[in-house]
Structure formats: C-alpha cells, structure tokens
C-alpha cells in the first residue's frame, strides 16, 4: 500500500507540495507572525509611551494655556470691577463662560471678591459652590505678596464634590468611564489686578480643575488603554482599581504643571501618571490581522491544495491521456491522437507522438506497400520461378525425356547400330540371296543354267544364307542382351542365400570364359552371411564385372587377380570388387555407368554391362556403387547395399 502510495505520481506531488511547500510555509509564516507580534508589542509600548507623552504635553500645554488665560483674565477690567462693583455681573459672567468654554479641563472659574463672596462664576451654578476650603489659601495669599499667583493641588473632598455637582458638566458623556474619584483639585488663584489703579484690592480669580477632569481629559485621549493612577509626591491623587492582569502593557508618564511665583520660581507640580493597556486589546488589530492572516493562509493552503489536487488531477489525467495515447500506439492503433490538453509541453509530447505515429503509420504503409510490392515481386519472381521451375521441370522432363529419348535414341541407335549391322548384312545377304535366287529362277526358267553357275549360285546362296544366319544369330544375341539390360523390377527373385557360396557359384559359372585367361579369383568375406535379397542381381553384377575385367582389363597373356571382399556393418553390406587390370582413364571413369558407353565398340562390346550393374545396384538393390581407378593400376568397385536383419 505504502509502495503504491509513493509510486503514485498524484500522491507524490500532493505529499511534496504539502510537505515541502505548504507545511514549511505555514511554520515559517507562524514564526514570522510571532516575530511580528513581538515587534508589535514593543511598538505598542513605544506607541503608548509616545501617546502618553503627547497627552502629557497636551495636558501641560492646556494647563499652561489655562494658566495664561486665567492670568490674563485676572487683569481684565470687567472681571476686576465685577468683584469690586456691582455693575459688571453680566459682562463678567460672559467672560468667565468664555474661559470655561475655551478650557475644557476647567471645572469652574470663580470670581471671588475680597470679602470671599463669589461675585461671578462659570458655570452659573458654580456661584453656589462652598469655597470654605479655599479660604485658607486665599487668606495666605492675601497676607503675602498679592502680586503672586498660586497654583496648587488641594486635597478637599468637599470641594471636589461641589465641583462634580456645580462645576462644568463632564466632557465625556459616558460617565461609566469615570471609575475613580479624586479628592484633589488643582487650584489656580490669581489676584485681580486693576491696571488702572493697582492699589485696588478687588478679589481673586480662581480656576478649579478637578483632578478627575485631568484624568478624564487624559483618559479621553487614550485609545484602548487605561490611566490607572495619578500620583502626587508618591501618594495617589486618583486611582482606578485595576484587576491584576499580568498581560498588560504599563508605562509611566510625568505631568509637570508649571508653578510660578516669586517664592517658588521654576517649581513644578509633578504628577506621575500610570497607564496600562491590555495587551490583547493593544494587539487587537494585530491579533485580528494575524487571525485574518491565519484564515487567509489556511484558505490559501486549502486553495493551493485544492488547486494542486486539481492541477495534479489534470496533470495525471494528462498523463493518463498520454498513457492511453501511447498505449493505443503501442497496441498498434497508430491513428494520430491529438486530444487538446491543457499543458503545452504535454501537447508537444502528444504532437510529437502523433507525428511519430503518423510517421510510423506512413512507414508501415510504406513498408506494407514495399512488402506488398516485394511480395508481389516475390510472387512474380515465385511465379516466374514456379513457371521457370515448371518450365524447368517440363524442360527437365523434356530433357529427361530428351535424355531418355537421347539415351533411348542412343540405345536405339546402339541397338539399331548393333542390330543394324547384322540385320543390314542379313538384308543385304537376303537381297543378294533373293537376287541370286531370282537369277537362279530365271536361269532355271530359261533353262540355261550351268552347273558352275548353279554351284556358284548355290555357294552364293549358301554364303548368303550363312551370312544371314550368323547375322541374325548375332542380332538375336543382341536382343537377348537388351532384354537383360531391362532389369526386372519384380521381387519374384527375392530369397535368402549365402553370399559367399553364391559368389563362388557365379565364379564357377564363368569358368568357360575364364579358361582363356590366367586369373586368380579370391573371395574374402563372412562365409556364413545369409542375405535376404535378389541373388540374381548379385550374379549379374559380379558376372558383368568379371566379364568387363576379362574383356577390357585383362590380357590373356598376363596373370591377373580378382579380389571380391565383402563385410557387413550396420545393416550395410559393403562389397568390394578389385582387379589388377589396366585400369580406367579418368575421363572414362565418369562415363563408365552410362549405357552403351564402351571402349570396345566394334569389338564385341555393347556398352551396357556397367550400365546394367549400375541399374541393378541402384534400382533393384537400392544401393550405391563407386568406382575408383587409375590407369594401369586396376579398378576398384565399392558397392554398398542395405540389408535386412537376418
């Protein structure tokens, strides 16, 4: 199963894609995301620091601005005289309202005359504020140099309560955000100074800034973070109960409130602000981004996988198509397949294969044509050959026939020639005889015959008759010989016989002929050998051979020897006939078995002897004969004849 899986191109591609592309990408992206998150945390801290530094600066700036405005207002004649006279109420209220409108951190601004009566205030309801807690400060300031102004943080729960009730409405509508309350109020006290008459002591302009308001102002500018405490001289002037959460980002920022007077030159009220930001909240965008990123990554991975699967399927399908195409080609269907496939490369392969198929088809066609052509040519050749063969056969037959006819002709010619002579002589003698007879009859009829003539005629007739007789006899012998040449193919002569004894009989039957020659005939062989064959054939063979040795090889003046030797090996009888006669010339050796071939024509030879031997051995006995001889060294016939088991 595993092997199959790994051998599958589809699974291989998928596994590779997943293992070597998607998983590393996933882990790498996760690593990068974590790094990114870390950077973001640091960035958030820096951002929070920067943001709070900005807010701190902004608060400082606003408080400075407030300080400046209050200072300026303390010189405003309308305000100064409002505390001094009973005439400027509306104008003073208008200007105080401008101050509260322009300074959002201002909880209230109060114009207090030198009898500690609120001459005017903004908002209007602030005129109802109980300023007892401020009295001490005012008195102290009054005793000291009235040219100085005082900025201080006053711990007065009552005043703060009054400010909540009668001060400016909270700028933040959502009061639930104000989780902490402070007992402290930032107090600005400015002696009212009438520039036209500095000696007039009219009262004070008092700006009240609730620490809660600073807190709110600060908090309002914070996004997703919480100002948890404001500390003055290491004691908390506002504190938010914060659930202990270690997963917070916390920073500390300093708020310097410029405090200037002759005695406290360059001194500032230093308030430490602690701000926390929930890390998850701080990184909400990042987390959201990461979440989106993860979703997108997962989606991309899924899409890539699906796409890959699709592409691989397509690819595999292409390969399948390619394989099917190739299989078709392989199975012999060379019809060019050109399926439209998506990938150019595969299309190119398909095109190349189609071209190959086309080429193969063409080649095959050409080959077939060529084969057909060759076949046709061969057929033609074959037909030609066949015809030639037939013709040859015919010709052969004709030749054989011709040869036969030729041989027959020769035979006939030989026979005719052989017979012609005695017959011719006989005819001539007969003609002569008839002439003589006719002559005699004429003589007789004419009666004019003389004895001598008669005798002559009779002698002539005798001679003619004798001649005719001798020649006819000769012809008869020739015909007998011809009859012998025509070998009897029948098996009537088949019988079992002792070869050695039979040879001896044949030799003995030739003794009348042998007596004219000095010949030593020796027979060597298994004397007990019994053959089931045609003894007559053996007899004719040996007779013809011995007669040939006598007639053609031996001279009567010389002693000669004939050796007949036979053995049996492997159901084969080898019979050797050897003489020590004059031998046969090489040129003659090749023709000795041809019928009527003789070197003694006219000397009584017919040229049929060895031909008859040859026919007997090859046709009757189904054997072979081979003759070897050299001029002057005798002749050797080796005859091989198959024999049956005895």
């Amino acid at each position: 199963m595993k092997g199959k899986l790994f051998r599958s191109l589809r699974w291989n591609l998928l596994i590779w894609t997943f293992s070597f592309a998607l998983i590393p990408t996933y882990f790498l992206s996760n690593y990068l995301i974590n790094e990114f998150k870390l950077i973001q945390v640091n960035e958030q801290i820096e951002k929070l620091k920067l943001q709070n530094a900005n807010i701190s600066q902004s608060v400082e700036f606003e408080l400075k601005l407030l300080n400046s405005s209050l200072q300026q207002a303390s010189l405003d004649a309308d305000l100064v005289l409002s505390a001094y006279t009973a005439a400027f109420g509306n104008k003073a209220r208008f200007k105080l309202n401008q101050l509260t409108a322009n300074h959002s951190m201002l909880s209230s601004v109060i114009l207090i005359d030198n009898s500690n009566w609120i001459a005017a205030a903004s908002p209007n309801k602030a005129e109802l504020i109980n300023i007892e807690s401020l009295a001490k400060l005012l008195n102290n300031l009054s005793k000291n140099n009235r040219e100085n102004f005082l900025i201080t943080v006053l711990n007065s729960p009552n005043l703060n309560h009054e400010l909540r009730e009668k001060g400016m409405a909270l700028p933040i509508k959502n009061k639930s955000k104000l989780l902490a309350q402070s007992d402290h109020v930032l107090v600005y006290i400015y002696p009212l100074i009438f520039t036209a008459s500095r000696h007039i002591d009219t009262g004070y302009l008092v700006g009240l800034v609730s620490i809660e308001r600073i807190y709110q102002h600060w908090q309002h500018k914070l996004k997703n973070s919480q100002l948890i405490s404001l500390d003055l001289n290491q004691s908390k002037i506002i504190n938010i109960e914060q659930k202990h959460n270690t997963d917070n980002i916390q920073i500390q920022e300093t708020l310097n409130i410029f405090q200037s007077s002759n005695k406290q030159k360059n001194k500032s009220i230093v308030i430490q602000a602690k701000v926390v930001k929930d890390k998850n909240l701080a990184l909400s965008k990042v987390n959201s981004f990461i979440h989106h990123f993860q979703i997108i990554t997962a989606a991309i991975i899924i899409i890539i996988l699906l796409l890959n699967t699709f592409i691989i399927s397509k690819l595999i399908s292409l390969f399948n198509t390619l394989a099917i195409t190739i299989e078709k080609y392989a199975s012999g269907d060379l019809t060019p397949q050109r399926p439209k496939l998506f990938f150019t490369e595969i299309n190119q392969i398909i095109t190349v294969l189609a071209k190959m198929a086309e080429r193969i088809l063409q080649n095959q066609q050409e080959l077939e044509n060529r084969v057909e052509q060759r076949t046709n040519e061969l057929q033609t050749t074959y037909d030609d050959l066949y015809r030639s063969n037939n013709q040859l056969k015919i010709m052969q037959t004709q030749l054989i026939e011709a040869e036969k006819m030729s041989q027959l002709g020769q035979l006939v010619a030989g026979v005719a020639h052989e017979i012609n002579t005695p017959i011719g002589i006989s005819v001539t003698a007969t003609t002569a005889l008839m002439d003589k007879v006719k002559q005699l009859e004429e003589y007789i009829e004419n009666g004019k015959i003389a004895k001598s003539t008669l005798n002559n005629n009779l002698n002539n007739i005798h001679d003619c008759s004798h001649l005719i007789f001798s020649n006819l006899k000769r012809a008869a012998e020739l015909i007998q010989n011809f009859k012998e040449v025509a070998v009897d193919q029948s098996t009537e002569n088949q019988r079992k016989f002792n070869l050695y004894s039979y040879i001896q009989e044949v030799v003995n039957s030739l003794k009348p002929e042998l007596k004219y020659y000095c010949v030593d005939i020796k027979t060597v062989g298994d004397k007990s050998l019994i053959l089931d064959s045609d003894p007559g054939a053996f007899g004719q063979i040996l007779t013809n051979l011995m007669m040939n040795s006598l007639k053609h090889a031996f001279t009567k003046q010389q002693a000669h020897a004939i050796l007949i030797y036979f053995t049996v090996n492997d159901q084969q009888l080898t019979l050797t006939y050897q003489d020590d006669g004059c031998g046969i010339e090489q040129t003659e050796l090749e023709r000795i078995f041809e019928p009527f071939y003789t070197t003694k024509r006219g000397e009584g030879g017919t040229g049929l002897g060895l031909h008859i031997v040859y026919n007997l051995i090859t046709q009757r006995l189904k054997g072979t004969i081979k003759c070897t001889s050299k001029q002057g060294q005798g002749v050797l016939f080796e005859i091989n004849i198959p024999i049956n088991d005895q």
């Binding site: 005289l81 001094y84 009973a86 005439a87 400027f88 509306n90 209007n124 005129e127 009438f194």
Partner: protein
C-alpha cells in the same frame, strides 16, 4: 526760546479757546437727533464743541464706571435715573436746583436726588413696557394672563407664539413680582426673598413651560419677530413704539397689560437724566456744561424728543400740551406709564439686576428651587448693595 513759546501758544490758541464737551448716551436709535441737537448747540455756542457718542446701554454703564477710575472721563451722560445708585462709583456732580428748568415736574425731579442732592437733570420720562399686539392676528386683546394662557393652543396651532418677551432680562421679569403684589425693594431695603417673588418665578417659568412665551427670546422677539407676525403680542419698551409703528403701521395695537388675578400688571418706568460723572459739572468745563444743561432743557427739545424718541417730556407745559393732542396709542401709553412702578434712585434698585439675574438663571436651569433662588437673590443683591454703598477712594 521766548519766541518759540509764543509761536506754540499761537498755534494752539484755537483749541484753547474752544471748550470740548463730550456726551454719551445709550439712545442709539435717536443718534441722528442727538447729532442735530449737538450741531444746533455748537452753532449757538461757537466756543463750545459738543461731541455726542452713542453706546449700548450696558456698555455705557460700564464705560462710565471704568472711566471713573481714570483721569479722563466723559463730561455728560444721558442715563436712566436709577443709575444714580452707582453714585459712589460714578461720582455724579451735585447740581444746583436753579439749573433745573422750572417747569420740570417736581415728582420727577425727586427721583434725581441721591445722597440728598440733585445728581441729574431730568430730561424725559417713560422707559416703561407696553403691551403691543398685532391687529391682523388679534381682534380683541386679552385682559388677563389667564385669557392669554387659554388662547395659547389657538396660537400655537397657527405656529404663532402668544407672547414675545425678552425672557431673561430682569426688566421684563420684575413686573411679574409686582403683579403678585411684591416689589424687589422698599426704599433701601431689598425685599426679594418673598413669596411674591417665588410665585412670580414659578409663574414666569410656567408661561415658558406651556409655550405662552419662549425662554430663548431676546430683543429680536419683541421687535422684528413680532413685526413679522411670529408673535401675537409683545412686551416691548415704550422706546420701541416708533419702530413698531413704522413696521406694523395700523396693525399695531396697544393695550394695557392684562391683569393677573385681578392685580394690575405694572411695568417699571424711569426717567432719563443728564448727569455729570466724576463731578465734571463742577470742573473746568462748568460754564460750558451749564450752557448745555439749559440748552437741552428747552421746551423745543422736549417736544422734539417726544416726537422722535417717543418719550414723555418732564416739562409739564410741554407734556400737558402733548396730552391735549394725544392719539389713542399715546393716551394708552401714558395710561400704562401712570400704571407703572417708578424706579427709585437708590443703591437697592441698582443692585437688584445682577443678583436677581443670577438667582433667576439658577432657578430656570433647575439649579435651585424657587425658594432657594429668591434666598440667593436676596443674599446676592444685598452683597451688591453693600458694594454700591461702599465709599470708594
């Protein structure tokens, strides 16, 4: 050196020889008339050069007080007689009785006394509120506040507010106290912390709550908005009669203020006086100021002021003559004038406006209930009065 001094003296001689007088007034709508008076005075007094400046009412008051702390101050002001309560701040000159025209009504003159001395020359009287109505909307004017309240649906359906009123101005609110039988001051005593003031506040607020009046209304409501028919009735100053007449013509109707539970509705009235802050009358320009004092009290200018400024002369001869030939509107205006409460020249009446306004505002913004509001008013006004009673250096 001597020659140079002589030359300088010669060059500056014209300015030396002409007395420069300055007059402030808050009667801006009659500035042309004042310029004409100045021109005629200057023409008849070649050695005096009168310069007239118009101010907003409140601005002028503040400017006078401020100038009281400076060396340079205006020579004359035409102001309401109740401002005499600022005597300690404004330091008006005591004016010999002989300077006052003999035909000036004695009762009126009484109101120009402060600290036992005449501090201003009475010029005109009036300054009361009138109950105006648009005749194209109103066939018969209401005679009681209840009737007006009953009609409110009728008007509101037509998208008309029943009554135009300068809601947040204490000059408009104060008559309601008197309608309930009270008054903010009795002599030098502040009498704001009274059930009448409480009722007045509550009724005043009630009128707004039921949309008989609009809390946001100001001077525009009683003038242009009323002229445009957005309001059926208007509580407008007598000083605005001429503008209303010009705008509405015959459609302008004037009636006596409706009664409140059988009580007459009494607006305040006052006198316009010519005063000399920072004791200018007794200064270097005394002669020139005296000349102008006599010049302005001429019957001619009393008549002109009546004709163009819609104020009643203080000169009985002129006044009687006018009443003889008065039309119905004038007669009604005068009748209403006579049914008005006079504003005494005292620190108490001067002190009430600011303190009343603050208490009024706190009540209207629900910071204080009516009872607490009047208590606050009382305290505040008393404190203000203390300031006014204080002798300034």
């Amino acid at each position: 050196m001597k020659k140079i001094l002589i030359l300088l003296l010669f060059i500056t001689f014209p300015s030396w020889s002409i007395t420069q007088l300055s007059l402030w007034h808050s009667w801006k709508e009659n500035q042309a008339l004042w310029l004409k008076i100045a021109q005629e005075f200057n023409n008849s007094h070649p050695n005096i050069k009168l310069k007239v400046s118009a101010f907003d009412h409140e601005e002028m008051k503040l400017a006078i007080i401020k100038s009281g702390f400076k060396l340079k101050s205006t020579d004359m002001v035409v102001m309401p007689s109740d401002w005499l309560g600022y005597q300690n701040l404004m330091q008006f000159s005591a004016i010999p009785k002989e300077v006052i025209n003999k035909n000036v009504n004695a009762n009126i003159l009484k109101q120009s006394y402060f600290y036992g001395k005449i501090r201003g020359i009475p010029l005109f009287q009036g300054n009361h509120l009138l109950f105006m109505y648009n005749k194209s909307l109103v066939k018969t004017p209401v005679i009681s506040w209840q009737e007006l309240i009953d009609q409110k649906e009728f008007w509101l359906k037509q998208k008309i507010t029943p009554l135009a009123i300068n809601y947040n101005e204490m000059y408009w609110f104060l008559p309601f106290i008197s309608a309930f039988g009270g008054f903010p001051v009795h002599g030098d005593k502040i009498t704001l912390n009274t059930p009448e003031t409480i009722k007045a506040l509550q009724f005043y607020k009630y009128l707004a709550d039921i949309s008989v009046v609009n809390k946001q209304c100001n001077y525009q409501c009683v003038s242009t908005d009323f002229y445009q028919g957005k309001f059926a009735y208007s509580m407008a100053g007598a000083w605005a009669y001429k503008a209303a007449k010009n705008a509405l013509g015959d459609k302008l109707g004037i009636a006596l203020f409706p009664k409140l539970k059988q009580h007459d509705f009494k607006p305040l009235r006052g006198n316009l006086i010519l005063a000399f802050p920072k004791n200018k009358f007794n200064g270097l320009k005394h002669d020139a100021l005296l000349k102008f004092s006599r010049f302005i009290q001429q019957q001619k200018y009393q008549q002109i002021m009546f004709e163009q400024g819609t104020v009643f002369p203080v000169n009985d001869t002129v006044m009687n003559n006018i009443l003889t030939h008065a039309n119905s509107d004038l007669k009604l205006s005068f009748k209403q004038f006579n049914q008005s409460d006079n504003m005494p020249a005292s620190t108490s009446i001067t002190a009430i406006w600011n303190g009343m306004g603050k208490g009024f505002s706190l009540y209207m913004h629900d910071q204080l209930n009516a009872a607490d509001a009047v208590k606050y008013m009382q305290r505040s006004v008393e404190h203000q009065q203390e300031l006014l009673d204080r002798k300034f250096d």
